[in-house]
């Protein structure tokens, strides 16, 4: 275990943390908006997967990473429309429809992937390279960890204060939060609840799709069937652990990513510790957090409850 504490390894762990954070952060902050509007999108995992898959197809067909990013966001839009249709229009139970969407996405991506490959070797692509911010990236330690990351990582971090501002300093943010607490108050004023819910869901799905896209473009050169590996769930867990507040969600994502980074390094270094322990910690921690929070939770009152007039 002491091998972990050499300087190079520590820097690698921390830099890896920031990189691993990116997709989860996109999804978590995006879904935070959705959840504050009262919709519990359990299909985050599936949306992320679709985003990754769309990015893969676009990347290998066009060779352009930025087109791939657009494709990932489009996938997010489509999944978002489906999710919003099920929850806001049809008013189906949020959890089950989310599970169905996950299942659908898993099946569809694998199905289309198999057809796309069709016997040949899997096409690869060139993903994102790290971009060193001039000047800042020369700072010892922090330079390598924080300022030599991919472009989208910086975008992800920028989204946190952006979403915070949206939620707490704009009129839409107030109305959106009201959706999650007491939609009737808005309905009475003649505000179209369904339309607002669609908007909230789409914001979340686009960002989740984008996160999925980064998962592919920023980490590897090919598509794997289980590329998301539960990261969509981790985003949901982060929202819970962060008690539905943007800054805390960021902190939760940081901790989770750190644990995953440690787990990866433990595995790669062949250390004698079951790496599963680190992977399991976020889930274990969330249970404890929830058990401890109990009555002081900030969970939107109407989260998960379909609104009927």
């Amino acid at each position: 275990m002491s091998e972990l504490f050499s300087e190079a390894i520590l820097i690698s762990i921390l830099a890896g943390t920031v990189r691993i954070m990116t997709p989860i952060l996109f999804a978590a902050i995006g879904e935070l908006v959705t959840q504050r509007a009262g919709i519990w999108n359990m299909g985050v995992e599936g949306t992320m997967l679709m985003g990754a898959f769309a990015a893969y197809i676009a990347a290998t067909m066009t060779g352009s990473v930025w087109l791939a990013v657009m494709a990932a966001m489009m996938a997010g839009v489509l999944m978002g429309l489906l999710t919003a249709f099920m929850t806001a229009t049809m008013r189906v139970d949020h959890f089950i429809s989310g599970l169905a969407i996950n299942l659908l996405a898993g099946g569809l991506t694998l199905f289309w992937f198999r057809i796309y490959i069709q016997g040949r070797a899997q096409p690869t692509f060139d993903g994102f390279d790290a971009v060193a911010i001039p000047g800042l990236s020369s700072i010892p330690w922090i330079g390598e960890i924080l300022f030599t990351q991919r472009l989208l990582t910086y975008v992800a971090f920028a989204m946190v204060p952006a979403i915070w501002f949206l939620l707490y300093r704009t009129r839409w943010g107030l109305e959106l939060r009201c959706l999650g607490e007491n939609p009737k108050a808005l309905d009475i004023k003649g505000i179209n609840i369904v339309r607002r819910q669609y908007g909230a869901v789409l914001i979340g799905s686009v960002m989740t799709g984008l996160g999925g896209g980064f998962l592919l473009l920023g980490f590897s050169d090919r598509f794997l069937a289980d590329i998301t590996a539960g990261r969509g769930w981790l985003a949901v867990v982060a929202i819970i652990a962060g008690n539905w507040m943007p800054r805390r969600v960021l902190l939760a994502v940081l901790v989770f990513a750190l644990l995953e980074s440690i787990a990866t390094h433990v595995q790669v270094l062949g250390l004698n510790v079951p790496h599963q322990i680190f992977l399991a910690m976020p889930y274990l921690a969330s249970i404890f957090i929830l058990a401890g929070l109990r009555h002081k939770t900030n969970q939107p009152v109407r989260l998960g409850i379909p609104y009927f007039r």
């Binding site: 996950n102 299942l103 659908l104 289309w112 057809i115 274990l284 058990a291």
Partner: protein, 370 residues
């Protein structure tokens, strides 16, 4: 021109939807048939856009599912764990306990049974198998009960806690069979599985086949027990009442916490039985990939089955058929087996919509005179 003459004498109307007062059986049936048709149609569309021969594919699917005795054997054996996890869902959801933990409970059941297989080795066959089954059911029941305790004592939402525990169990299994104490190692190759389980531990085969095993009988018996439990016993009354209105039930003398613990224990045990039957009936060794997805599918099957034991059995048979037919379809029509989970997802979504639609109706309401 006076004000009154400017007003039209006819009332305006518009269409809108509103909740039904009475459940109309015909309407409900129509909705669900429409759902099946739309779902199948969308799946066919999916097939067609991918360039496959739709009729050939569906034909192969049906033939592989129900077209021969061999097909039926495969279907029933695939249906076995699905029916069980579906029943586990029924018991929990009817009580309004939204357990998503069937997946983890299947694993826990398999692991508990394997542990029993190691511990009780050497005992006479009948007792040996019984103890293995019991260990599996207890292991899974414990997992379910843990979620109930978290809900009752700490107010932790059961959806979240069960999903969390699913992951924890999966990690535990991954450790145990991926380099941990239960791993099968042969000539320095590490497999992600345990060695084969002893002959005496395996579930008996039925009908002379080498696929359909005793687990299927367990599934049918479990369905019968669930039916009797829910409809004919006081505990079943309490479970159903809790699913509708736990407040009134607790006002009237029933301990909701205790009932919830029982529900989760029963649900867990049934799901665990699925894991036991999969390991000791089909794959004969503990590995993760054969268990994967059984729990989540069970939720879908339970819901499509209308949260009723009989419906669950039927839905389990249908989905078992889809699973076994998919191999044939892959062979004959070169369609990737991954179509099946996609189809299942589509069908569930359409069924969910049908469920909501069956509770509503189109009406004309007034829009005022002006």
């Amino acid at each position: 021109m006076s004000e009154t003459s400017a007003i039209s004498a006819r009332a305006r109307t518009r269409l809108t939807i509103e909740p039904r007062l009475n459940k109309n059986l015909r309407w409900t049936l129509t909705m669900y048939c429409a759902a099946t048709l739309i779902g199948t149609g969308l799946s066919a569309l999916l097939l067609w856009t991918s360039g496959a021969d739709v009729t050939r594919a569906f034909g192969a699917l049906l033939k592989g599912a129900f077209g021969s005795e061999k097909a039926w054997i495969a279907t029933l054996s695939k249906a076995t764990p699905l029916i069980l996890t579906g029943l586990a869902t029924v018991v929990a959801f009817r009580a309004q306990v939204w357990s998503i933990g069937q997946e983890g409970q299947v694993y826990a059941g398999a692991m508990g049974a394997y542990l029993g297989c190691l511990v009780f080795f050497g005992l006479p066959a009948g007792i040996y198998v019984s103890l293995i089954i019991l260990s599996g059911m207890i292991g899974a029941a414990l997992l379910g009960t843990a979620a109930a305790v978290l809900k009752v004592r700490y107010g932790v939402n059961e959806i979240i806690s069960t999903v969390m525990m699913n992951y924890l169990i999966v990690f535990l299994l991954s450790y145990l069979i991926g380099g941990g104490p239960w791993t099968e190692i042969s000539t320095s190759v590490v497999y992600q599985q345990t060695p084969q389980v002893p002959e005496t531990a395996r579930l008996q085969y039925l009908l002379g086949s080498n696929k359909l095993h005793l687990g299927f009988v367990f599934a049918l018996v479990a369905a019968a027990i669930c039916y009797v439990l829910l409809e004919k016993t006081p505990l079943g009354y309490e479970i159903r009442a809790m699913g509708h209105n736990p407040v009134a039930l607790s006002y009237r003398g029933t301990n909701i916490g205790r009932t919830m613990l029982l529900v989760m224990a029963i649900s867990g045990a049934i799901a665990g039985l699925a894991g036991v039957s999969e390991i000791f009936g089909t794959s004969h060794r503990l590995r993760a990939d054969t268990l994967y997805g059984l729990g989540y599918s069970g939720i879908i099957i339970g819901m499509i089955g209308g949260l009723r034991p009989l419906g669950t059995v039927i839905a389990g048979l249908v989905f078992g058929g889809l699973a076994s037919g998919s191999l044939y379809m892959k062979l004959l029509a070169q369609v990737p087996a991954a179509l099946i989970p996609a189809m299942e997802g589509i069908l569930l979504l359409t069924f969910l919509c049908a469920g909501v639609a069956s509770r509503y109706r189109l009406v004309r309401v007034g829009d005022g005179d002006v």
